[in-house]
Amino acid sequence: MSIALEHVNYVYSPGTAYEKQALKDVSFEIEQGQFVGIIGHTGSGKSTLIQHLNGLVKATSGRILYEGQNIYDEGYDMRKLRSQVGLVFQYPEYQLFEADVLSDVCFGPKNQGLSPEECEARAKEALEMVGFPEKYYRQSPFELSGGQKRRAAIAGILAMRPKVLVLDEPTAGLDPKGRDEILDQVEYLHKETGMTVILVSHSMEDIARYVERIIVMNHGEKMLDGSPREVFSHYKELEKVGLAAPQVTYVMHDLKRRGFDVLPDATTIEEAADEIMKSFEKTRSSK
């Protein structure tokens, strides 16, 4: 059970003046149940990459295997793939369109051919999963706050009960609390359902806090792939490609340079605080 990319290339508008290779020989495998972050500067190929995962964009060459099957095989059930690999685009609230929230969330399951009762049950389940308040179910999606709209849009994808949830910058434009709420909810879903989550984000701090593995894209190529600690230890290379490490990682490196006995690879506040406290205890006990 996994999604695997094998030597995927993608070329835009081949043979024209606008020809551009957006993905170059990208290979990786994501096991079912992983929480993976994808980072990269604007134009690094992140969005093109995730649109390959459910077959929205077809690779120019290379293969994509979902649960061991090549999705480009003749007769492959793309419809099924799209309901199992759910894609939440940037600013998904712009895609809300029904008269009320519940109908909007029902749209996905309705397209899967489920009965109206089943659709509604699925929609309610999905709205509950994202912590959407029941009192707004019958409200127009356009009257909701930014955070609630975002939840409704994510619920619309969850209602199809995907096995893989791909989120393209789900917190862009939200206030800090709204960011935490959405990501905490996604983490909870991941733990509760064992769903694979692929999170594209520009916030290194958020990525470090939630994911177990990071894939770094640069100019259409996979540049790094590893745990947050591994990836952010390459902070100097990341800076060269328009990225950075979380602020706490820089603090740890500064401390190390100033002679503190710390491992500098902490990527979250907790890890950094643990490491700093440990070093203070060591100096105290040696005195």
Binding site: H41, D175, G242, A244, Q247
Partner: protein, 281 residues
């Protein structure tokens, strides 16, 4: 430069047929005073009224109560409308919605051209503003070939070319990657230092406001906190009740304080934290 007194903004709530069913008060008695040349940041959760406030600063909206003066001009005075707009330029969140030219320098020249500035002067201004935001080498480029941070800097240059005394930026970095965010914030800082432009920055990124002279926090149409970044960010728990956060370095210092280290409150920068920890050793 920007002065609001008991500012109120109400708008009608309407049903589907367009009948008025009530009023909403988006801004409720706001007093602010921003001196010329200063850098002021406005924080607040989605829907707190900060964008509505920003729109009052160049008369996109005019108050329904109280007064807003921009460089001494009452924004409700229709005769002053164009003067107000020329005094305070706005930059919005999405760079793609703000760029209209097919070549960078044409886009930047559009504003002064509309103001009736003579051609020679337009080109001088275009060059100056592109230099100020570090985009001069892209003057002949097509805007759609630029990165988000570059586009946003072109949008800022377009505003600067109109020579405003004040620039209001409404979440200019929300759609950018880390590098793009840095580029935009650096360009804004430079403008303030070199051209003494007043800067009003609305953002959800706490790291971007640590160099501000004053920070205002809005909630439910009110100003609920006001002070220097250090004062504001030492009140971590209070900020959280307004759905805000503090910079990650401040949060780490706070966590270390909770675990018993004797660190001062309101640490904002990485260097400060490192120095403070060195002193404790």
């Amino acid at each position: 430069m920007i002065h609001a007194k008991e500012l109120v903004y109400e708008y009608d709530k309407r049903d589907e047929e367009g009948n008025v069913i009530g009023t909403n008060r988006a801004i409720d008695g706001v007093d602010i005073d921003v001196p010329q040349g200063s850098f002021v940041a406005v924080l607040g959760h989605n829907g707190s009224g900060k964008s509505t406030l920003a729109k009052h600063m160049n008369a996109i909206l005019v108050p329904t109560g109280g007064t807003m003066w921009v460089d001494g001009r009452d924004t409700r005075d229709p005769d002053e409308l164009w003067n107000v707009r020329q005094t305070a330029g706005m930059v919005f969140q999405n760079p793609d919605n703000q760029i209209i030219g097919t070549v960078v320098e044409e886009d930047v020249g559009f504003g002064p051209e509309n103001l009736g500035v003579p051609t020679d002067e337009i080109w001088k201004r275009v060059e100056d503003s592109l230099r100020a935001v570090g985009m001069i080498e892209y003057r002949k480029s097509s805007p759609n070939k630029l990165s988000g941070g570059q586009k946003q800097r072109v949008a800022i240059a377009g505003v600067i070319a109109m020579e405003p005394k004040c620039i209001v930026l409404d979440e200019p970095t929300a759609m950018l990657d880390p590098n793009g965010r840095k580029e935009v914030i650096r360009a804004v800082e430079k403008l303030r230092k070199e051209k003494n432009v007043t800067v009003i920055l609305i953002t959800h990124y706490m790291e971007e406001v640590i160099d501000a002279d004053q920070v205002f926090v809005m909630d439910d149409g009110h100003i609920v906190m006001h002070g220097t970044p250090r004062e504001i960010f030492s009140r971590v728990d209070e900020l959280k009740t307004y759905r805000m956060d503090v910079p990650q370095v401040t949060m780490l210092a706070e966590e270390l304080r909770k675990r018993g280290l004797d660190l001062p409150k309101g640490i904002l920068r990485r260097e400060e934290l490192v120095e403070a920890l060195c002193r404790l050793r």
